[in-house]
């Protein structure tokens, strides 16, 4: 029998290009903050889920095992779940099944990423995500796949680079109000357009930065949650989907895997008209066009119509459906798994009315967080309600 699951506490560290803390220490800091926020200690936690992206960043094989002590997993049922960049939002999804299945009443979910140890640049780890026989010999970089997808998206729907740049302007601007943010800034579309081309059409300011950081949430069964807090945030829908390995055989203009993941989560949460029922969205925005792509996959904008949302103000923090009020990965930073979890934390704080300067104007009751990953391949989605 499925049980209802609530988020009862959240925490996160600063997101920075390079942190003094190890991955274990970052995990501990975020977990401790989430426990304190929920008024719990580790003794109250029955199971632990940890999320982290490639082991290649740290150069530690079986990274999940290495992180156990920092994540509070010693002596507990502990799992590391992993779907590339989708891991951050997937970590609370794994927590959800720990609790919803009836096996455990409380679950600590920690997502960390320590990208800085890899030299000369964290990007190098992404070389090994490509097919070892057919793609790596070409000298691949992760930026290729994004720029190829962005170009196809622009081509199919006649979208201009300037329209996409509005997302970077919005998110970096929102991040100014986020105390953990790495790259909050008031910039203009012109700034984005004039920034250095990296992998055309992708320019420096279209991209989120590599970072170190961690974020965590505490999940509890309905019965436990109601004892501990008057303000549970219900994790009412979860979904995830993977598309084929063969990304060069796919429609790069539309993320069907996000659509499928969203529909799974919406069905579980009983959401019939997402655009009307969802008040806040935190789609994954490692690149500015990705926010648009994902809004369309999430059924929050028609195909090719997402750029209008920022331009017309709908997705601004004071708009009708704020998108990435946190500042997103573009502004807060992109420690991969931690960045996805940061989005879940943001929804939690927004729905509790605790987001301070970042609090959205509208009265918000339903939020969706989403992450993406792999070879343009995986969508992970959570729906939360106050």
């Amino acid at each position: 029998m499925r049980r209802r699951v609530a988020i009862i506490g959240a925490g996160m560290t600063l997101f920075r290009r390079r942190m003094l803390e190890t991955g274990k220490e970052l995990s501990f800091e975020a977990a401790k903050m989430a426990l304190d926020a929920a008024g719990l200690t580790l003794k109250d936690i029955e199971s632990v889920v940890e999320g982290s992206a490639p082991d290649a960043f740290d150069g530690v094989h079986m990274k999940g095992e290495y992180l156990i002590d920092g994540s509070g997993g010693i002596g507990k049922p502990y799992q590391r779940v992993y779907v590339g960049g989708g891991t951050g939002v997937f970590t609370p999804v794994a927590g959800w099944w720990n609790v919803a299945s009836g096996l455990y009443d409380t679950c600590l979910c920690v997502a960390e990423e320590k990208m800085s140890p890899l030299h000369p640049h964290p990007q190098y780890a992404f070389w090994s995500i490509f097919d070892q026989i057919l793609e790596r010999p070409l000298g691949t970089t992760l930026l290729w796949i994004f720029s190829l997808e962005m170009r196809r998206y622009m081509h199919k729907y006649g979208i201009k680079e300037e329209e996409i740049a509005e997302v970077a302007v919005k998110n970096k601007g929102n991040a100014v109000d986020h105390p953990c943010a790495q790259l909050g800034a008031k910039i203009t579309v012109d700034d984005v357009m004039r920034s250095e081309p990296i992998c055309s059409p992708v320019k420096r300011l279209d991209v989120s930065p590599p970072s170190d950081g961690a974020a965590a949430v505490i999940l509890a069964s309905e019965k436990v949650a109601k004892k501990l807090t008057d303000q549970p945030v219900w994790l009412d829908g979860v979904g995830w989907t993977l598309d084929s390995t063969h990304w060069t055989n796919r429609d790069l203009a539309y993320p069907e895997y996000v659509e499928k993941a969203a529909k799974m989560a919406y069905k579980m949460a009983g959401i019939k008209n997402p655009r009307k029922e969802i008040d806040i969205a935190e789609p994954y925005d490692p690149f500015d066009y990705k926010e648009l792509h994902h809004l369309e996959g999430l059924q929050l904008a028609g195909k090719g119509e997402a750029p209008k949302l920022a331009i017309e103000g709908v997705s601004q923090r004071d708009g009708d459906m704020p998108v990435c009020p946190s500042g997103g990965l573009l502004g807060v930073g992109n420690p991969i798994a931690a960045a996805g979890m940061m989005k879940v934390c943001e929804c939690f704080w927004q729905l509790r009315g605790e987001a301070g300067k970042r609090q959205v104007k509208k009265d918000a009751h339903t939020a969706v967080a989403q992450a993406w990953g792999d070879l343009m391949q995986v969508g992970t989605v959570t729906v939360m309600r106050s």
Binding site: M1, R2, R3, A53, P54, D55, A56, G59, V60, H61, M62, E65, Y66, L67, I68, D69, G73, I74, G75, K76, P77, Y78, Q79, R80, V81, Y82, V83, G84, F90, A94, W96, W97, N98, A100, S101, G102, L103, A125, F126, S128, I129, D131, Q132, V238, G239, T241, L242, D243, S244, T245, H246, E256, Y257, K260, A261, M264, D374, L375, Q377, V378
Partner: protein, 383 residues
Amino acid sequence: MPFKIGIVGVGYAGFDTMTPGLSTRELMFEAASRAYADAGIDPRKDVQSFICCTEDFWEGISITDEYMPDQLGAVLRPLCTVSSDGLVGVATACMHIASGLADVAVVESHSKASDVVNPNEIMSFGFDPVYNRHLDVDPRFLAGLEMTRYLKDSGTKREYCADVAVKNKKNALSNTRGVYGTNLSRETVLASPNAAAPLTELESSKVIDGSIVMVLASAEKAKKLGDHTVWVRGIGWSSDTPVIEDRDLATAAYAEQAAARAYKMADVRAPVSAFDLAEVDDTYSYKELQHLEALKLAAKGKAGRMVDSGSFDRNGKLPVNASGGSLGVGHLLEATGLHRLLEAILQLRGQAGQLQIPGARKAVVQSWRGIPTATGAVAVLGN
């Protein structure tokens, strides 16, 4: 309500020192096709969740789930990696089913160890980069440390560890999947070169290639899927500290904790008399003894003597690794737990051929993730 989730299909491919003709993906396709045929399902329609248990460095790919969906029939379906042993994947499938996410869930894990040129170095990358990795030795030094401490604390005779290797390699001679089956004397095992003293090479399992796929279903759905269902009645998994200096190296705390959870779920009160067979991790000879004691299938310090006296032989009081275990069949990296499970399922189905233990109805299965971890899982099965 008692816990009850069905395993309705099994399939495997490989089980050889090398599988040079097939890519990992092709090997998985073979195993998965057999498991789906066994369960009588179409993965494109009937499965709501797919779980793969893999580690990036074993695959040589960052983010290995990228390369998993197509050959499992999982394209545009929920699929995820659980970076752990296959038995933890089974636990995940059980949670997906118990939470109503899925009626049918699939778990896959594999070893393509023959693709890896320097497996010892990769295993060494698992050690703490600051505190432990500077030791430029065979990563099995940790097994040597554990074994020494186990022998001392438990008062177990050194020879009894060798007896585990003798028993399991002999059992594997009757197993069609067994790669390292052989008849050896205790003396030969003891005289083989040191892997990490006191552990010898013949007491240290060797990796093989293989892919194993399991199809799980809810109790209701299982009724409609074939008549070979084996039930998971309890499942637990646990991890001790990753800091190896902090561990009690004599005992397998993770297995004790995992067993306690699985036994509680399955209402097993007297493990010694609860099972018709056990398949436990025997990556190294002493590990089988440690694990038998952690699972309360032998009293503390008594497992070795019981191996010596034949209690755990195939025709003994409680057959342990009648399949030949990892020492006899070969070690399958993260698929090792699924291999233990596979052998137990075939026994409970009465499909174990020459290995068959007459009247086998209840089994316990246990896994360990290998060096340098202290993570393992336990499942209680019934038919």
